[in-house]
Subunit: 152 residues, 2 copies
Amino acid sequence: MTETRFAPQIDKTETEKGTILRPKFDTDGLVPAIVTDADTSEVLVLGYMNEGALARTIEEGEAWYWSRSRQEYWKKGATSGQVQTVVEMRTDCDQDAILIKVRVAGNGATCHVGYRSCFYRTVELGKPATDKTVLKTVETRVYDPKDVYDKA
Amino acid sequence: MTETRFAPQIDKTETEKGTILRPKFDTDGLVPAIVTDADTSEVLVLGYMNEGALARTIEEGEAWYWSRSRQEYWKKGATSGQVQTVVEMRTDCDQDAILIKVRVAGNGATCHVGYRSCFYRTVELGKPATDKTVLKTVETRVYDPKDVYDKA
């Protein structure tokens, strides 16, 4: 792991019971961030933050991520208007995951497919897990991305 | 990526809009699984599943993980009694994350530190992100792990 602006992890007790943020980034320098709706608690997306994105989110109170596909900082909503204002941030026992509770601006969607949440499909349970395991869409889209991006 | 029992990802449209589970495992063969309380929607933990753990969870309806530290399958609750019965499983748009909504048996805790949720501490926002960024414990423990494990 590379050195960061944050405090390093020293021992298990300090990490689990301490009062200082000591985030553990993975070998790619990232920490996963679970994003929930602050009002409904619905899980919206799982994003990834590097040191800089986590720092910007803490300082600005709006969610920043590191785009793994584009390899660049990504201020959620910068182009879509779906800015995420962070109401609360938490970390977990071993400080290798982040949870942020947000309010979403713009059209209220988080998912680029047009749904409020990226988790719009259920997985069928109680049957053999195979290459035919069924997904079912259980949410309604907030908007059709084609209506937005085709105009751009 | 290694071949799995699940269907492979073919193209973006099928992954995002299809009706077949096509999980994308990372270079370690894992997919992150967000675990929430099915009744309160509280985020309990972020776990990791390999192909086998995901398959077992789908088939049995109880949560299995892959322990990254012990490098072995881990049926949650097998020793603690904190078994997670899966009420619903979802996947996200690009199928590289899982969400399970669970009911927790035993003493109702998920975190080994003794809390219902691993996310028992908030991160202070709106100040410079430094090696002194403050965490605050905002939850109450369900039990003291010492009382359990010291007896074992």
